[in-house]
């Protein structure tokens, strides 16, 4: 049979962000594939070296639109550790509330994208309509739906009144019902299962070899989650379970992410009920003493790691960012081997790509 090369990208209706695939196809199956990144590379690491620590909070937020808050959280966590600053507990709780809300919004967004890629637009509509509840909560809290700008070095700059808290709790009740319905769809809907099961398989050994993180790793049986394994406060006072599945296909990843969404709603409710009183931020010096720090945290897609080196001034000497999507991208050629052309869109969606994160 003839081999044809099918290019997907950099501009393609399947892709939400630009990246270039070259798929070598024989008949209907993909034989091999290559991947090219860098179309959204903005040089953020270099830009960080030319701006002060305070300016960098907002620069780093723009690495990604979907997981913006977790980037600023990890960055501020690192700088606060360099300063030896202790963030007040109320500030940490509010920061975590937004982290979990962002996790819910990211997974619902992703469910819609997967649904579009398998041709089931109704789930896309339902998921994004339910995502509006989360975006409204975040807008009421921070003033922005997507760019929250909530973190400062030393804490957060928002606060909650009692009645605002009760409003959010009632919106979370509504969200609970909707997310439970979506989880039911993932677990029982036959057409979704038929299109996503046994596609894009990754074994546990593959996951360990390629150092994969996040829901993709958890769907292949690797039981790791930084929120539980090295809990920063307040995660050490909250109870939640980490869903793990053994199948390693796209359906397993869908299931893991929906279960994580359910857990995140539970976590938000716990955070709001246990919210302590007190200040929300500590005052931070602008000049950071010389040193290095490695800051990690659990983004919706996995482990985010920041390395920050300071030379004693108010401008960082080096900021290195590694986002979790990069680890999933390494596995894509393995996943795409032997896959039918019609299932390529499912595999690409199953990995939850965020190319803006990967390119920085």
């Amino acid at each position: 049979m003839n081999r044809i090369t099918v290019p997907i990208g950099p501009q393609h209706p399947l892709l939400k962000e630009p990246m270039a695939f070259q798929l070598t196809v024989e008949g209907e199956s993909v034989i091999e594939s290559t991947l090219r990144l860098g179309y959204v590379h903005r040089g953020i690491e270099r830009l960080c070296q030319e701006r002060t620590y305070v300016q960098n909070i907002h620069l780093v937020e723009r690495v990604c639109g979907i997981c913006s808050h977790v980037h600023t959280t990890t960055y501020c966590q690192g700088v606060e550790a360099l300063l030896g600053l202790e963030v007040p507990l109320r500030g940490l709780y509010l920061r975590t509330l937004l982290c979990e809300l962002e996790r819910i919004h990211s997974h619902l967004l992703w469910l819609g994208v997967l649904a579009r890629n398998i041709g089931f637009d109704t789930i896309f509509m339902y998921a994004w309509r339910d995502r509006e509840i989360v975006l409204d909560i975040m807008e009421d809290l921070s003033g922005g739906r997507v760019s929250h700008a909530v973190n400062v070095i030393g804490g957060v700059r928002i606060d909650l009144t009692e009645e605002h808290r009760d409003t959010i709790l009632s919106q979370l009740d509504l969200l609970d019902k909707q997310v439970a319905h979506l989880l039911g769809i993932v677990e029982h809907e036959r057409s979704l299962k038929a299109r996503t099961q046994n596609i894009g398989h990754l074994s546990l050994e593959d996951v360990r070899r390629y150092c994969v993180v996040g829901p993709v790793a958890r769907a292949s049986g690797l039981n790791v989650d930084l929120r539980r394994d090295r809990p920063p406060p307040p995660y050490d006072r909250l109870t939640f379970t980490v869903p793990v599945h053994e199948d390693g296909d796209v359906w397993a990843r869908t299931w893991v992410r929906m279960r994580e969404t359910v857990e995140s709603v539970r976590l938000c409710r716990q955070i709001l009920t246990l919210l302590p009183d007190g200040p929300v931020a500590a005052r931070a010096r602008r000049r950071v003493p010389a040193g290095e720090v490695i800051s990690r945290s659990e983004a919706p897609r996995g482990e985010v790691i920041y390395y920050i080196r300071s030379d004693g001034s108010d401008i960082p000497a080096r900021v290195k960012i590694r986002t979790p999507t990069l680890t999933s991208l390494i596995t894509l050629p393995t996943q795409l081997e032997g896959v039918n052309m019609a299932d390529v869109s499912v595999v690409l969606a199953g990995v939850d790509l965020c190319i803006a994160c990967a390119d920085r």
Binding site: H41, G43, E292, S295, Y307, L329
Partner: protein, 149 residues
């Protein structure tokens, strides 16, 4: 990735046994991270000890840093808690063996360090640029000497 915390004393002892002439230095960074420094020629054997004897195989990333006194490479690992191996390459000898034979997940990180700082990873299967354009002809972007554009 694994939750099993590595035994730091046993690890340092194993490294000392494997490299008896080496004087190991260890520092602790904030947020509970440990950094151990190695000369460039000992780094890949040290990683071998880590993966074979202690089963620490999750490489989070490889950071390249132009410190002004050479290019520092930091290999960040995670197993229950964070461990980093640091080495420094002099400007006139910017090459180090690639880790991809031991940890295949290092491919992208080494490509990025190569294009951003000009480090050569010997034995890398596909050393093309990862993020920079194919026709980039200027300096390596993260070098201190690179101009602002």
């Amino acid at each position: 990735m694994s939750n099993v915390k590595f035994n730091l004393e046993a690890l340092l002892a194993a490294w000392q046994r494997a490299f008896p002439k080496l004087k190991l230095t260890m520092e602790t960074l904030p947020l509970d991270e440990v950094v151990v420094a190695f000369p460039p020629e000992y780094l890949v054997p040290a990683v071998c000890v880590l993966t074979e004897q202690f089963n620490v195989r999750h490489l989070s990333t490889i950071t390249g840093d132009d410190t002004g006194e050479g290019i520092a490479l930091l290999y960040h690992f995670w197993s229950g808690s964070g461990l980093t191996l640091r080495t420094r390459l002099p400007y006139d000898a910017l090459h180090i063996p690639s880790l991809t034979g031991i940890i295949p997940g290092a491919v992208f990180y080494e490509r990025e360090a190569a294009e951003m700082l000009g480090v050569i990873f010997e034995g890398h299967p596909a050393p093309q640029p990862l993020l920079m354009p194919d026709d980039w002809e200027g300096e390596h972007p993260l070098r201190a000497s690179a101009e602002d554009r």
